[in-house]
Amino acid sequence: MDLVQNDEFVIVQRKSQVSLHQLPKKQGKKWTVKIGRDKVDISSVVGKPHGTFKLVREKDGKNSVFTLEPSDEVVEMKDKMKDLNSGENNKEIWDDGTSQQLKKEDIEELRGQGLTGSEIVTQLVENSKTFQIKTEFSQEKYLNKKEEKYSEWVDILKPNIRHLAKHFHSQDPMQILNLRPDTLAMIMSLANIKSNGKFGVFDGGCQGLVTAAILDRIQGHGTVWNLFLKGTPQKRVIQAMNFTPEQLKPLKNCSLYKLKETLAKEENTDGDEVPAKMIKLDEDAAPPLEFGSLDGMVIVCRRPTTIAKELVKLLAPSGNFVIFSPYSEPLSETYIQFRECNLAVNLQLTETWFRTHQVLPLRTHPEVNMSGSGGYILSGIKVVS
């Protein structure tokens, strides 16, 4: 069983809220982070197995700080309060904004006094003029809502691509070009990502999300060329994955300008001489990157303009490519360009529509909040005409 290590990243999940935290580099150092509205010394999980933890209050001068203790017995608020009265319907309830007698400041004070989440919710219920006449379903809905904020239990999870994709997208979609998790799933399929393959990624703004997803999928088997033009390649999500050196082995960073030089040289030496095929682009760039050598290619950027066509040169015939953009128009340009140049078949411009559902007895319905867009993808298969 893995234990949580210093310097690692962990996912903290409290009900439906997901956040990402890096643990302190050094053993024994306190490390206070915000989980929801609570200040929590997250260093308390180091050395323990991943799993469910309980927030335990620890007085620290004026502000209370919580530490985390492993705990498997989660008590849901609705179970705790199931003996309360409830009404038959909500006919008598007139929400004039005065039903809750605790003000925001009162709640803040209770927090300051170090009440636990469920103690605060108990206070909220006791100070509500309408809670006891609400229907059971309304009460449950109310408690679930409060639990999102005040739950005393959190799960400390090893980061995985599913969590990170969701976390980065829900935190601020455009920080990863609005590449939604279900769209990422489509990219992984349509680029035919598999172990022992050679893949190229051009990441024009998704923080290394696609590269991380590929590295995770292939678990050390194969090669991933992280291609870039300017600056340094994107890597935030890759770092957050806590990859082992073995898992990181397939990753080769490669500047396209450097590659261009190398390929030009290679072309010059090509002829009757024995070509220097094993060009070292990166220190340990074992398999050579040449035109027609990649099994699959993913391009993520706002507008691929001419680069998509160039990058597809690196792809082997019958290789799969996927181009992602938050906008449809740039992809329509590339679509026409590829069609007119007969570069590919099975060209498809698509988006996915994604919705989650609440499934509860007598209360089943789609969630009312939905993402309006998850970006567009242009996919195809390279052919030689």
Binding site: N89, K91, W94, P173, M174, N178, G204, G205, L229, K230, G231, L256, K260, L263, F291, C301, R302, R303, P304, T305, T306, I307, K309, E310, K313, P326, Y327, S328, E329, P330, E333, T334, I336, Q337, E340, C341, R355, T356, L362, R363, T364, H365, P366, E367, V368, N369, M370, S371, G372, S373
Partner: protein, 312 residues
């Protein structure tokens, strides 16, 4: 003031819309005085995001023209049911324009239709119904909450809908509508709509009509469909309708996003796409990142013409 008949110039008593931007619109009634929380009558001054507006000074102003605030300006708009839906005070969850539009069309509403609505809620749908059926139809609207009925009655009156609407407090599921053979259509937005189906049948004209129910949950919809089938309704159809909004943006990408790159030093020219011009500028029709993923399921059905033998 009437929503029904368009006018050019504001008169006292009119409800108007002050439009500042899509996120800042206000519905105001033009009257010189307004009650404070304590009940005192004071000069009616409205605070917008761009400063104060003396509401009475709107009298005589033209709709569709600019109106000045103390620190900026906005537009004075004629009220419509859609603008009212965006600006009314929520006493309940309300229906929005995509569902409302579908309800009005699928219930075959037109000038002259008689329709029963329950519950009235905050009156969002009622305004669109009234626009469709005036000046010759009638809306009978019911809500089990007395306070809501009082407020919406005042609004109907302020908006000039009074001749075309009757609003009553009533628990439709228990007590029915007290209407017989008068309605072309019935709309039910109730927690247990199936309980009101027999009452709806009574209210519908024997020559036939349409019914619609709105329910957030699928279980309610299932019970409703069973109820409609058992009662003899035909062409029972359940649907959902969502609105997707787009932003139109002229985008200029930062230089870092300029991916003009070629492996060749001499750019190829045989295909499109290698032209360099304006590579960082384009127009995008961009879906809003967030949207309403669910409002409710709409179920429609036809009440068939009742043959002679049943009419006795």
């Amino acid at each position: 003031m009437s929503f029904a008949n368009t006018k050019c110039v504001v008169e006292e008593g009119d409800t108007v819309i002050i439009y500042v931007n899509p996120q800042a619109m206000y519905a105001l009634q033009v009257k010189p005085l307004i009650a404070t929380k304590k009940g005192d009558m004071v000069e009616n001054i409205f605070q917008t995001a761009y400063g104060a507006l003396k509401v009475q000074e709107l009298v005589g102003k033209k709709f569709g023209h600019k109106v000045q605030f103390s620190r900026g300006w906005g537009y004075l708009l004629h009220p419509t049911p859609e603008l009212w839906t965006l600006n009314l005070k929520h006493r309940t969850q309300i229906l929005y324009t995509p569902d409302i539009s579908l309800i009005v069309m699928q219930l075959d509403l037109k000038a002259g239709s008689v329709i029963v609505e329950s519950g009235t809620g905050s009156g969002s749908l009622s305004h669109a119904i009234l626009r469709a059926i005036a000046p010759t139809g009638h809306l009978h609207t019911f809500d089990f909450h007395q306070q809501r009925v009082e407020i919406v009655t005042q609004e109907f009156s302020d908006h000039g809908w009074e001749p075309f609407v009757t609003a009553k407090q009533r628990d439709a599921c228990k007590d029915g509508f007290d209407l017989e053979n008068v309605a072309d259509a019935v709309f039910l937005d109730l927690p247990n709509p199936w309980l009101a189906i027999p009452h709806s049948v009574k209210a519908l004209k024997k020559s036939g009509g349409r019914i619609c129910t709105f329910s957030p949950c699928i279980e309610q919809t299932q019970k409703t469909c069973e109820g409609l089938l058992a009662e003899g309704f035909k062409y029972i159809e359940t649907m959902e309708c969502l609105q997707r909004e787009y932003q139109v943006k002229n985008i200029t990408l930062p230089e870092i996003d300029d991916y003009n790159f070629s492996f060749c030093n001499t750019p190829e020219t045989n295909c499109e796409g290698n032209q360099k011009k304006d590579d960082r500028k384009f127009r995008a029709v961009l879906p809003a990142l967030q949207m309403a993923g669910h409002t409710g399921y709409l179920t429609f059905a036809t009440w068939p013409r009742q043959s002679e033998k049943c009419q006795t």
